[in-house]
Symmetry: C2
DNA sequence: AGAGTCATGTAACGCGTTACATGATTGT
DNA sequence: ACAATCATGTAACGCGTTACATGACTCT
């Protein structure tokens, strides 16, 4: 499921511009996917060529024409096919954890700083989810996805708080051994 | 932190061949990073050119020469620099969750099947971690990383078990409304 | 005054996956 | 017999990021 296919999926839900699709990525998918304009706009152009989506341009003053995309029946079929394929393994890439692996090459204050920043980020995410979870009118699916993010962030926060000593103590021991 | 830099980091811990580096990715980093030979071997070649690592070839019979890489002082400095940069945001890409977003386009049995498979995968991961967590002689850092994976897998399992109804019920309701 | 929102795009570039190529040895 | 382990690599290709280009309107 590349960005292209995901854009197509979003267009099964409603007509949208590239700009609006980006917002769906930010609002609903941000915890487990991201996409930049540099990938969204070319994706839309290509799918238009392929006949999977159609585009109506709306003139605006002082801004580029607004291009409202809608899915075609060929596009809808293509997306249904994509939903029948088995999802591939998650791709995760965490530089934070990769750095933790080398904690014995860092001074303790650096390790602590990294973990503190990470926790701050997690708490910020959680706060943000909390504020938008209250809103009624949120579809169940979006609730499910947001709740998923929430559960993961909480689990990570709890784990870090309880286990940071494993990397922080390790650094102290390596330094002690070096003396 | 690209694959190249991570290979360099692994070589701060011990000399290794490309093949062995791949195993470190599989054993210690698999929960939040992955790398294929197609990225590891070119990375090693390039870092050799750059003078960050050095290579000793060992002849073998019936197999390609074993190339044992070791980090140079220039390489060690480069890696220390990398550890001072602030880690970039995690990159996550979950096709499973992306598909869940479109649960109302799938028949209930398909949704249930996807979730069941996902749970099976999570349980398999957890089982695997359980078996290798017992081993003494596992460094604290590796414990920390494995424990991290464990905590995440458990959190996801629990979340899915408790909240799958949100996507499964949604599908039923959409279908009911369509009747 | 400055940040943020709306709105589209292109071009270069790097990164990494995938598939291919080779082939002996060891374990089930 | 068959799969897995050991061991290295290349080439094509796609995907996506990043930076750049443009510019008005609105909120603080």
């Amino acid at each position: 499921m590349d960005i292209r296919t995901l854009c197509l999926g979003i267009l099964t839900m409603r007509d949208a511009t590239g700009y609006e699709i980006k917002k769906v990525f930010e609002d609903d998918l941000s915890h487990f996917y991201e996409a930049s304009f540099g990938s969204i706009y070319p994706a839309l152009n290509r799918m238009t060529e392929d006949g999977w989506i159609a585009c109506k341009a709306e003139a605006q003053d002082g801004r580029p024409d607004k291009k409202i995309y809608s899915i075609t029946s060929a596009g809808r079929m293509a997306f249904m096919d994509a939903l029948q394929k088995k999802p591939r393994k998650d791709r995760i890439r965490s530089e934070f954890l990769a750095m933790m692996m080398f904690s014995d090459l860092m001074v303790p204050s650096r390790i602590a700083g990294l973990i503190d920043e990470r926790l701050a980020g997690l708490n910020a995410h959680l706060k943000e989810i909390d504020t938008c979870m209250d809103e009624a009118a949120t579809p169940n699916v979006v609730r499910f996805l947001r709740g998923f993010g929430q559960a993961m962030y909480r689990a990570e926060r709890d784990y870090l708080e309880e286990n940071r000593h494993l990397v922080e103590a390790q650094a102290l021991m390596s330094r002690a051994a070096a003396d």
